[in-house]
Symmetry: C2
Subunit: 174 residues, 2 copies
């Protein structure tokens, strides 16, 4: 399993980025990276978010790439992820083609969204699966103890499924 505290990937960090970032940008980056790790979000995405979070003005693609020293591919995918999860907004000035990005007002909402999108589908998929497991166990003559356990699990799943959507109203996107 993941080590409790992630060691800094020295090779990559030393290779190019980080000297373009101020100490507090770096420290904020580390904070978001750690939180992202818990939520299963890749490092590069967290770094982009942190950068935008600490920026006085909205930043464009090339500025992000330059500041973080990451590839176009990563920046593109990272921005896509953040957009899809409604964690950033593009600010367009007219006559300017380039998009510029800034964080959405509510970080909390974004995080709840993130969790929900991971958990809800899993719970939905599980409902019929757990029913099948319970049926199978009954037919196979499982002990009352096991049947009890499985029944509790199924109930728990159902409860979670009805509680979860209440955490926040569904996002515009679905």
């Amino acid at each position: 399993m993941k080590p409790p505290v992630k060691k800094t990937p020295v090779a990559r960090r030393g290779r190019r980025d980080s000297h373009r970032l101020t100490p507090h940008e770096l420290e904020l980056g580390a904070f978001f990276v750690q939180m992202a790790g818990i939520l299963g979000v890749p490092r590069s995405v967290a770094q982009i978010y942190a950068l935008l979070y600490a920026a006085d003005v909205a930043l464009d693609f090339d500025q992000i790439q330059a500041k973080l020293g990451m590839s176009k591919g990563s920046v593109s995918q990272g921005l896509k992820f953040l957009r899809d999860h409604e964690m950033i907004l593009s600010v367009k000035a007219k006559g300017v083609r380039r998009e510029r990005w800034e964080p959405t007002p509510s970080l909390a909402a974004s995080m709840v969204n993130l969790v929900r999108r991971q958990v809800l589908p899993a719970l939905e998929q599980s409902t019929p699966a757990l029913q099948r497991v319970l049926d199978g166990a009954q037919k196979a003559g499982a002990s009352p103890e096991v049947l009890e356990r499985l029944t509790r699990l199924k109930r728990w799943n159902a409860r979670a499924l009805e509680l979860f959507p209440l955490m926040l109203p569904p996002s515009p996107g679905g």
Copy 2:
């Protein structure tokens, strides 16, 4: 980032295990593996837990290894993890050396514990870090907007830190 739905690792599954498991053991395994994935717990640990969860009687080391077709190392580490997180208990009959394992009564408590142990240390570490970030931003003359964001983040962190321990009373182990 992780693909939304994990494809079954055909090679490994086909190689040895699974034909020792009943269909409902397999399906329950899949369920726990999926949940574990969200929580950042490795597959092998989830499989062990699922096996014990669906078992009529407590199982020993060798039975687990045989049923799941995994290495001694994985079984040992998996059991250690589950023990450390108070998700399983050993049932000892006297005169018998071998330990036998069964799930603890409360799965819900176990899961909360699991989350707490990931999140709490991160939050604690973050408190001073965020303060430093905020100070740095102030000294560097950041815009009021950014200072506002960072202040909110710090408050949010502090709130999470005081709310979290209330989710469940602390476990005996710490």
